[in-house]
Amino acid sequence: METKDKIIVKGVSFFYGRNRVLENIHAIFSEHTITAITGPSGQGKSTLLGLFNRMWDDVPGARCTGEIRIRLVDRWVSPMKNDIPMPLLRRKVAMIFQEPNPLPMSIAGNMAFPLKLAGVRDKSIIEEKVQKALAQAFLWEEVKDRMEKSALDLSGGQKQRLCIARALVLEPEVLLCDEPTSSLDSKAAGIIEDFLVGLKTSCTLLVVSHYMEQMRRIADKVMALQDHGLSQI
């Protein structure tokens, strides 16, 4: 299958105040692939991920130069030029964090939350999308009988799968994963890895990870962020 470009990064630099975190980054990420990004701590891997959905907008002193283009809903958008509404950008370019962060509400509440934020009010649509996303995350069978129970009572691996499912419920085109398995045991991490590989058919994934073995298992391309620059390895 011919792969199209999904994200193009041209000469991107990022600064916190006077501190340069990323310098002149160039990269192309193809559609329906998993790109793993590795590198020593403090090199700006999470910062780089956050550029694609503008998570750093509200951070005082944060400044970005260069160009990022993402093909979303079959048109090229430049998030840094504000040519796409921020909520839409973040729904289409979803993000998973290192620590699973379910909201202190029920499993159903967590899953419905992003849909309600997006203005979906029809209960049958919500139920259908929630069930589909949970099934995608191999979680539906485990939680279908306790949807109204607190999401905080799930195990670490289940919480992380819930958070990924919660992002998937919005049908994102790009999934940014910031060390999604680093707080999990090897069994739970294995389940998440399989799950991420399965998502390639619907998403383009960028995964930050420290585990070389894991990256080789799941990634189509591995890139290293070192000395503020990004290169393929």
Binding site: M55, M86, F97, K116, R166
Partner: protein, 294 residues
Amino acid sequence: MMHAVAEKAVVVFSWAMTIVLCLCVSIFLGYLLIRGLPSLGRELIFGAEDPLRVLLGRARVFDGIFPAIMGTLFLVILSASLAVPVGVCSGIYLAEYAGAGMKKFSGLLFDILAGIPSIVIGLFGFSLAVFLHNHLDDRFGPCLLISSLSLAVLVLPYIVRSTQTSLEELPDGIRRTAIALGANKLQNIAYVLIPNALSGISSGIILAIGRCAEDTAVILLTGVVAVAGVPSSLLSQYEALPFYIYYISNQYTNPGELSGGYGACLILLGVCAFLFMSAYGVKKHLSHRTLYRA
């Protein structure tokens, strides 16, 4: 070896201090109960009047503390109604929107406000009453409204600070969750940050309610009197439990009256407990509703 001994000494000292503290509270409550319980009864609250007629508003109490209980309740509810919206909104602004300079400046102002003695706030309230009386309307004077305004100013820093701190202390994980799901800043604040910070915010409100119920210096200058009956409007003078306790312990003519003062102390503690429980109930209900609404 020395470290182990030092650690043991610290543990024993901390344990002893905790026991001393628990003992002090027990002695304090025990003493209040012993002195106040005998006087506690229908007569202390309603005097010679029929409680039902009083509660229905068909009779006035002249020799009981029912008007003081009602005055205290009105005072606390009114002060909290004035202070909570302003304080919580300011706290949200300072935590989520204000720049570093604004935070520093307003933080300094609120710290100064928190340090102002309550009698000074009372004097400010009294001056406001005089100003309004002279320049706006004759009906203005020291009254329930002025007392409530002054108490609201007194407790504002607690509410602002507790709101600001509880929001600022939320971990990044919670802070970024809704943003990453497409929420705008206001949605993030309303659906995620406030519900998660509600426990800290309500602690500040509960503290403020306690302060409103117990402060005597402010109300002394702004409208409380020994005999006024249940306040009929915001511009009426009123009775309040802290002032009753102060007044009776200064002016008692026989041990029975003093015992009534102790009884009023117990009732004040009961009123505070009732207010705290109500605030706790509201907090629980609010957090549930707010979280699950989203």
